[in-house]
């Protein structure tokens, strides 16, 4: 817990984010003399003042031989002319190249920042979607509850069917047993009756019945011949 009695950030120096770099540096005329010098002399001497001052100074230095002309002057003159020619010819290209390097660095950093921002925005979107999904939880659970109830019902009905089938099988068995028993009794009785009848047919009765049959057949054959 911070002590609230100690004031924080009371000075003005906390600049965050950093202010951007200034676009151009201080103006320099002819590559050597800052522009402020010309502005300083302008009210009193006008536009040509500093140039007259420069010419006078150079003549004074030459005439009093404070600046001595010797071999080094010739060397300086050659070197300076080459330098000035190179700057005038290639200055713009070198400046453009350096600017491009800076731009690339800046673009890389900006790309990193933008990627981070996009990533976090996407994360926010996903989080919102998840929150929306949570709202649908109740529907999900209702559906699941319905599923479970249906499963229970189906299971109950299956077992009911099993019970019914088992009971029916047992009852069918009993019915079949009774039928079988009656069938057997019937067959046995028929056999016994037939056996008794056959036994009771004496040989005398057999001859009589056969003779009768032959007479009947003859009569029939006569009547049949008559009709044909």
């Amino acid at each position: 817990v911070l002590h609230v009695t100690r004031p924080l950030h009371t000075t003005q120096q906390h600049l965050a984010p950093l202010p951007p770099l200034p676009e151009k540096g201080g103006e320099v005329r002819h590559g050597l003399i800052p522009e402020e010098f010309f502005q300083f002399l302008y009210p009193k001497t006008g536009v040509t003042g500093p140039y007259m001052l420069g010419t006078g100074l150079i003549l004074y230095l030459l005439s009093k031989e404070i600046y001595v002309i010797n071999h080094e002057t010739v060397a300086a003159f050659c070197i300076l002319s080459v330098i000035i020619y190179a700057v005038k010819k290639f200055g713009a290209d070198v400046a453009a190249f350096a600017d491009k390097l800076n731009e690339d660095k800046l673009a890389g950093a900006l790309a990193v920042k933008n990627d981070a921002i996009k990533y976090y925005e996407k994360a926010i979107e996903d989080e919102k979607k998840e929150q929306w999904r949570v709202e649908g939880r109740s529907y999900l659970f209702d559906a699941k509850r319905n599923n479970v109830a249906m499963l229970l019902e189906a299971n109950y009905r299956e077992r009911l069917m099993t019970v019914y089938n088992e009971v029916k099988k047992r009852l069918d068995y009993q019915v079949a047993m009774q039928n079988l028993k009656r069938q057997k009794e019937q067959d046995h009785m028929i056999q016994w009756v037939e056996k008794g009848v056959i036994q009771s047919i004496t040989p005398q009765q057999q001859k009589e019945s056969i003779a009768k049959c032959i007479l009947d057949l003859k009569a029939l054959s006569k009547s049949a011949q008559a009709t044909v």
């Binding site: 676009e23 320099v28 590559g31 001595v68």
Partner: protein, 88 residues
């Protein structure tokens, strides 16, 4: 109505000529003070001419020109031997 600024806090360009002696006497000449002065000067030059987006040639060339002038001054006694007309 602004309060009067102490002489100690005025900048060099705002000091009147008569106060120049007392102003110079009031500056900080301890080693820390001198180092601070060098650092302030360096920072001013650096932030004005070099630490910008599109710096030009002037920032570096002024330093080199100053170096050339100082080295000429330091070797003047040697160079003055090759004067064309020797008056002194």
């Amino acid at each position: 109505l602004c309060a009067a600024v102490l002489l100690k806090d005025t900048k060099l360009m705002d000091v009147k000529l008569g106060q120049l002696g007392s102003w110079l006497a009031m500056r900080d000449y301890t080693p820390g003070g001198i180092a601070g002065a060098f650092r302030r000067g360096y920072n001013r030059y650096y932030n004005k001419y070099i630490n910008v987006k599109k710096g030009g040639l002037g920032g570096v060339s002024m330093v080199l020109a100053g170096y050339v002038v100082i080295s000429y001054i330091w070797s003047y006694s040697h160079i003055s031997k090759s004067k064309l007309c020797v008056w002194l």
